[in-house]
Symmetry: C2
Subunit: 195 residues, 2 copies
């Protein structure tokens, strides 16, 4: 007997609310703010997840997992020969109405304190996975190219996209929109002469 567990639903609601708060207030969002955003009390957060540190760790785990899962689902529907172009569209298309939330949270967490070490480890794992995915695509597109070279290009293109995203988020001149992508393409083209 007993009652049906709402753990999964509540956890999702809490983490979604936390994510929305992170966008507004950064990492120094109080659990009370999160609770209000989620339409519940802080006690419920405590009940379902735990203390602040645990909430943050669970949040990062979840959004990195969701992010990667969605990415892989989308990737699965794109023919390999269009993969590079599609990836660049995704990384550099600032006009697109996609949700920046995840990336913003990743940004915030990258400079987080040691208190959230577990979350930071999770982030590292995600970046490594992203690099691997993109490097694999590059290997497919440039089969003759050196694999290390592919990975290096993947690392740099992702870095370029990250910094571009950050600078745009900061509010810098939009004049650099085309720039970042063009330069990413330049780096990729070096693979033509590799290996």
């Amino acid at each position: 007997m007993g009652r049906k567990k709402l753990t999964e639903e509540r956890t999702t609601e809490i983490l979604d609310a936390f994510a929305r708060c992170m966008v507004k207030y950064g990492l120094d969002t109080s659990l009370d703010q999160v609770a209000e955003e989620a339409g519940m009390t802080r006690s419920i957060i405590r009940h379902y997840i735990g203390n602040r540190e645990e909430v943050v760790n669970v949040l990062i785990e979840r959004i990195t997992a969701d992010f990667l899962a969605e990415l892989q689902t989308e990737a699965a529907q794109i023919p390999q020969e269009q993969m590079i172009a599609a990836t660049l569209d995704y990384l550099f298309d600032d006009e697109a109405g996609y949700d920046n939330t995840d990336k913003l949270i990743f940004d915030v967490m990258m400079t987080a304190q040691d208190r959230y070490l577990q979350a930071k480890q999770t982030l590292i794992g995600m970046f490594e996975e992203l690099i691997t995915m993109f490097a694999d695509d590059l290997e497919f597109a440039y089969p003759q190219a050196d694999k290390t070279h592919c990975r290096d290009v993947a690392y740099s293109v992702l870095g370029l996209a990250m910094s571009h995203e950050s600078l745009q988020g900061l509010g810098m001149n939009k004049r650099y929109h085309a720039t970042a992508r063009t330069n990413a393409e330049t780096l990729i083209r070096t693979l033509e002469f590799s290996g």
Copy 2:
């Protein structure tokens, strides 16, 4: 009559302490922590600078100004024909013992809330200045190259350095040390065939 003003010294001590705290705790450092780090009371901070927001804004103003000033001093001692190489050394030499503090603080502030809008504006100004400086060097080194192209390359190389720095700070594999710089050089080399 009256007493000699210590405003400048005290302000410096406070901001230095704040900077050290930022490295340890990020932006959510309390003024009490700063005061303790500086060996004074919070009331003194209030007396010399003001409330939290003002302290942060002044901190960012000062370190961006110092950072740019030092950079320009160093640059003035380097012959123009070595400037590009020296800049790359500076941007990508992770082994060098230079002080990461400033860059870490810039990183933290990039995702700060709107409360610190003034500080963020200061950051934007600094980045624009950095891009301009580097673009000028590139123009000198590649006089035939298109000026817009120079600026685009400057933007991307700085972005590459920023993201590399962030990822290393996060704790990623050091295997990418050479990567970022090599790819930056690739982008710069495109200027040879420009214009």
